[in-house]
């Protein structure tokens, strides 16, 4: 643990006179020195435009850029040509949603007709989605005339699978679902949902932002059709995300962003496009971020995803057991005994999340307060906002315990009587 802690310089500072207790990795994780060095080394040694130019440096940059793609692909059990770089996970969701819209307008090769949506078609999401895996689909429905439906969440913060079996039907064209909830920490039964969707020839789009950093994931084995995740939640820098798409699907999809670096032949009226992934990577790419993300993957691999998963399950259990033993604190989502990623969101009766966050911050504890970009889920659970503590491989037991101790002081300070 000490070795890991020493790799993250940002953790060694005082906040409001207390050692920083960073429990907001679900929002963004911290970078180890090796990741920052990888980015710096690139700018010092190899900085050049990739996939163009015939000079030595451009060739070297292209080589490391593509090697980064291979590293990330291997990490999630995917072939290289199924990995598309994006600015963040949100852009990946939008890429697919706009590609489908473009297909619906009749753009793309004849084979892209398979992605056309219109009146009578249905897109299914769930009630626990992050806004990033909801709004792009709402907008796609609005643009195409398709209907948006959703799988409800049960009181315990899990998906209503019985309802799902009814809601997914032959009109369903796409099922968009999160692998692990950023609020309630639930790990969804993806294999079951994939089976449900594929039985009616619907595509499955997986939001893997909260799973790829914390669990060992094999996207090929999961058999989802698309997935997104973001670099900054897995020890990497901001500005880089990943879209995974089955190669045979990407091959038939029209592009979203267009311009340089994604074309073969251009005349004044028309253009022909490159094969994926380049077809979806218009303009100068996020080269240093891609390399840094690959370095983050190396760090995670070296630590071992199995070890990380086990460690976080332990931290999650410690959090859940701790918060549920504080009077007046309600845990959102499944309770003790159900596996979750290493986070817990709570509601302190009578105290608004923003006030809870302020109180914790004064003790050097960084948590997320608010709706965590999941307003419908909060509404479903009967709260407008919550306080979320989220851990990662560098979180210590002592940090969780300090959070629990200070959380227990919140209600008395605000004069909430029990």
């Amino acid at each position: 643990m000490l070795r890991i802690r020493n790799d993250f310089p940002v953790l060694h500072q005082l906040v409001n006179g207390h050692p920083l207790n960073y429990l907001d990795s679900g929002a963004t994780s911290q970078n180890p020195i090796s990741v920052m060095e990888a980015e710096q080394e690139y700018y010092e040694q190899r900085n050049a435009a990739v996939h163009r130019g015939a000079h030595t440096l451009a060739f070297a940059a292209t080589e490391v850029f593509e090697a980064a793609r291979a590293t990330v692909a291997t990490f999630v059990g995917a072939p290289e040509n199924s990995i598309v770089w994006t600015s963040n996970a949100t852009e990946g969701v939008n890429l697919v949603s706009y590609s489908f819209s473009n297909a619906s307008l009749g753009l793309g090769a004849p084979a892209s007709a398979r992605f056309r949506l219109g009146a009578g078609d249905e897109i299914v999401v769930t009630e626990m989605e992050h806004h990033s895996n909801l709004i792009p689909w709402q907008q796609l429905a609005l643009r195409t005339g398709a209907t948006l439906r959703f799988i409800p969440v049960l009181d315990d913060g899990t998906l209503d699978l019985a309802a799902a079996a009814q809601i997914v039907n032959p009109r369903t064209r796409l099922l968009a679902v999160t692998h692990a909830s950023n609020v309630v920490g639930t790990i969804n039964p993806i294999a079951e949902l994939v089976q449900l969707a594929h039985a009616v020839d619907a595509l499955v789009f997986l939001d893997a932002c909260q799973s790829v950093p914390h669990l060992a994931i094999d996207l090929t084995a999961l058999d989802v059709d698309f997935a997104v995740f973001s670099g900054h939640k897995m020890l990497g820098p901001t500005g880089i995300g990943v879209l995974y798409g089955k190669a045979e699907l990407l091959a038939d999809m029209p592009p979203f962003l267009t311009g340089g670096s994604m074309i073969t032949t251009v005349d004044m009226q028309t253009a022909e496009f490159l094969a994926p992934p380049q077809r979806f990577e218009a303009g100068t790419q996020r080269i240093s971020q891609a390399l840094a993300l690959a370095s983050a993957v190396d760090y995670l691999d070296h630590t071992g995803m199995g070890r990380i998963r086990a460690r976080e399950a332990e931290l999650g259990r410690r959090l859940v057991e701790g918060v549920t033993s504080i009077p007046g604190v309600r845990l959102l989502g499944p309770g003790v005994g159900v596996e979750r990623i290493g986070l817990a969101a709570v509601d302190v009766a009578g105290v608004h999340a923003h006030d809870v966050g302020q109180f914790l911050d004064e003790a050097g504890i960084a948590v997320r307060v608010g709706h965590h970009c999941a307003q419908p889920l909060h509404r479903r659970l009967g709260v407008t906002a919550s306080t979320r503590a989220s851990t990662y491989l560098y979180t210590t037991d002592d940090e969780v315990d300090q959070f629990l101790a200070v959380l227990a002081e919140v209600a008395p300070f605000f004069g909430v009587s029990r």
Binding site: A353, H354, D355, Q358, G370, Q375, F413
Partner: protein, 162 residues
């Protein structure tokens, strides 16, 4: 732990107002532009949301008379949010109800100036009353929006009646 910094931010006056807020009503249905109340007051209301935390406040005002001499004879608000924003709405109710538009705007300016001062302005309690308790908030830039939210709604409602 309960540090003095926390006690300065969350003064007892603020916690008391947050717990038993003045002027809060359960419902405020939308108003049409140019609405006039049964008592003949010219009414307007504004709904404001703090996008960082989702707090929301709706403020309704009803004026007797015109111009800056008009009196604020109706004031009501509803909202959901942190103790700072809810207490601020309660204090706003106590501060502006029954005053003239000119007086309330002067208070609004003083309040805003104090909150933007990053702790450099020592408030005059004689003038600001309970609103002076929010001086501690000015040291927490992330919370200034919380305290201002109801006042911004109030200002926007008045503006509609100009």
């Amino acid at each position: 732990m309960t540090s003095s910094a926390m006690q300065q931010l969350y003064q007892q006056i603020i916690l008391d107002h947050a717990k038993s807020a003045h002027g809060a009503v359960p419902e405020l249905p939308t108003l049409d532009a140019g609405s006039v109340s049964a008592a003949g007051l010219r009414q307007a209301q504004s709904h404001q949301v703090n996008t960082t935390c989702g707090d929301e406040v709706t403020v309704r005002v009803g004026l007797t008379g015109a111009g800056t001499d008009a009196e604020i004879d109706e004031f009501a608000w509803r909202g959901a949010g942190c103790s700072i924003s809810m207490a601020s709405a309660s204090v706003l109710n106590d501060t502006v109800r029954g005053t003239s538009v000119a007086e309330s705007e002067a208070m609004l300016n003083l309040f805003r100036e104090m909150l933007r001062s990053r702790g450099t302005i020592e408030p005059d309690e004689e003038v600001l009353g309970d609103a002076a308790a929010f001086a501690g908030v000015s040291k927490y830039p992330a919370r200034v929006k919380c305290a201002m939210l109801p006042w911004v709604a109030f200002e926007a409602a008045l503006l509609q009646l100009r």
